[in-house]
Symmetry: C2
């Protein structure tokens, strides 16, 4: 199958490209390296050493005999993306090409605008390019569980049947996004759903939980193929951050009491889910939504798990509660449904002490690269409520 991956140089995009290439698909990737730039500009960097895209692609060719063509450019440039889609004629487009950090979107007006511009306009350009060149192709779009927020009812997969004053309809599940980044993901869902209803496109929105892990089957074992690993306050996800913190002796940065609950999944399961979505495409005209995570934990549960595993390896780990920089309910009901990917055959990689120990071992190898100054939370959702502003 011809598969086009937007954001193919990123944390998930690169291992996804290798996975589909290894399975014999004709993969092309698009990236403009903005993630590398954002992380560098924030004074951080990938813990793992990551090769330049062209070097990675050469290394993969040496290892696998398969070539992955790359297109360097910004998808906010509609003419560029239009040409890429016209040239590659994908049967599936996997869209990771977005600014994906909630805290980055909350730093300032400029980063909020950058996030919503890059994400919303890039995605809108993609919808037009697919409509005009490959209207039967399947869009697999990365959404996030954070679009739903913390409603007081079970979170269904994308839609909810509402019975109201004696009538019924199956309508988009109401959203309470938790940051301006999450708002942008909601904008994408709104636009994609419209394109499916109006132009007959087909799409799957993968409302993903928080991803953790470093290695996939294809990236493990050859350092030239490693994907990036972020651990800073902006781009690191919570379990990855905690593991790095445990290894370098930094207190685990728990925000508030740590009773916030999130859905999680292993990076290997992200690849499996995306593959299940691509090989089982949505019907023509359908905007299909999957909740993509395998387990849910509170932040304190994760901190305890990392502390236990690290202490087992001989580390001393302190858990520190930071004034929560986010505006969110710290105690809340949380029961999101996530059966659709399981129904398609997903076999979850569940989180346990052994898995955390393996992650800690990989981090140990690269701990010399860690920039400790990028770890503590500085970005506040509401600057007026920061301890500094109140002092």
């Amino acid at each position: 199958m011809r598969v086009l991956i937007l954001g193919g140089d990123g944390y998930l995009g690169w291992p996804t490209a290798l996975r589909f290439s290894a399975r014999g698909h004709e993969v092309s990737v698009v990236d403009n390296f903005s993630r590398r730039r954002w992380v560098r500009d924030a004074g951080s960097g990938s813990l793992t050493p990551i090769a330049d895209l062209e070097d990675r692609i050469d290394a993969w060719e040496q290892v696998s005999g398969k070539r992955i063509p790359s297109y360097v450019g910004a998808i906010e440039d509609g003419d560029f993306l239009d040409e890429v889609v016209a040239e590659t004629r994908p049967e599936a487009v996997i869209h990771y090409g977005q600014q994906a950090s909630a805290p980055y979107s909350m730093i300032s007006r400029e980063t909020a605008v950058e996030t919503q511009y890059a994400n919303t306009i890039g995605n809108l350009n993609l919808l037009f390019a697919m409509r005009d060149h490959v209207p039967d192709a399947h869009l697999v779009k990365l959404g996030t569980m954070g679009e739903y927020g913390q409603p007081n009812i079970d979170i269904e997969e994308g839609y909810i049947e509402i019975e109201h004053k004696g009538r019924k309809d199956n309508l988009p599940f109401p959203k309470l996004p938790g940051s301006l980044y999450h708002c942008a993901k909601v904008h994408d869902s709104t636009n994609i759903h419209f394109a499916c209803r109006t132009w007959g496109l087909r799409a799957t929105d993968l409302n993903q939980g928080v991803v953790y892990g470093i290695e996939s089957d294809e990236t493990a074992g050859d350092e030239r193929l490693l994907t990036r690993f972020d651990y800073d306050e902006l781009f690191g996800t919570v379990l990855n951050r905690f593991c790095l913190q445990a290894v370098i002796g930094h207190p685990l940065t728990v925000y508030g009491a740590g009773q916030q609950i999130r859905g999680f999944l292993n990076i290997r399961d992200t690849l499996a889910c995306v593959e299940l979505a691509v090989t089982n495409p949505a019907p023509v005209g359908e905007f299909r939504v999957f909740n993509q995570f395998t387990e849910h934990f509170s932040v304190m549960q994760l901190a305890g798990l990392v502390k236990g595993a690290a202490e087992h390896l001989g580390y001393t780990v302190e858990i520190q509660h930071y004034d929560n920089p986010r505006v969110e309910k710290e105690e809340h009901y949380y029961n999101p449904i996530h059966t659709k990917l399981l129904d398609l055959g997903l076999e979850p990689t569940l989180l346990g002490e052994e898995l955390v120990e393996s992650l800690l071992h990989t981090i140990e190898r690269y701990k010399g690269n860690a920039i400790e100054s990028s770890i503590d939370p500085r970005t506040r959702w509401n600057p007026a409520k920061s301890p500094a502003a109140q002092a």
Copy 2:
């Protein structure tokens, strides 16, 4: 009260500015004249002769003794808007400053991107400017009933209490926007709601029906104060279009069978509603939503009403059914609730033959300005389904 009006040169923005100025408020307006440019570029123009903003402002000062300061610039320019808000320190911001045509947003990728960029980023800039300079001010934002689409249940005002699997929550009403313009309005609602939850801003989203009419108390009687009147396929609203068509002898352009139902209100009621919202502000931290229309009609009911009124004045009127350029249900359940503005004291101006006749008389005065080539529908929601594409 200090009132800042974004889009203060527009169809609704200008008469709103005069209304608040006449009531003794300190009004400032912002505009970049993009509506004038879009209409001109589309080969059309306002039926009513409209003075330049500075000339209008001078005329108003002569008539009323009151000066309305103006700021010329694009709200997509965050620095510009930030400076205007810092300088004017509004207690209420009335935000009309958007690309407001559904068909314009559907012409091409370029006009879709222009619409979502101008509207979403402009509104996001406003939220930051208010947060940083006037966090207690009240944002009165123009939304649209078209955000809701055509669900099979009653449309509530912004929120719906959902009972699901034995639990309950009051959540944002699900949206099925009918164009990429309507999608952008949904994006705004999502962003504003987030800003209220996170920064404690206060806002009222006025989900407005289709506005008709030309004159308000302040603009009537002095031609220098007239507001614009659009009648072309892109920027004209349906009743205004039908009235112009009846006067110049063009068949009434009914899309499809004409059974689509919409909410409507008189331009005088728009001003009354906005005034009610401003003088009864939302509580701090609340994102309040009003459904702002007074009556609902099917397109064929309106066509019949205009035909009857025009024939009463001696015109011969033909109703012509055009292949529907939009993708929408042509027969559908429609029962939107709209009691909140009535509860605040709105006294509706109801549509009847007499009101249509008065509209026709005003149009007669300016019919020489009509550009007939701009009237027939050309913009198709799904170009692949156009008669030309199918031929």
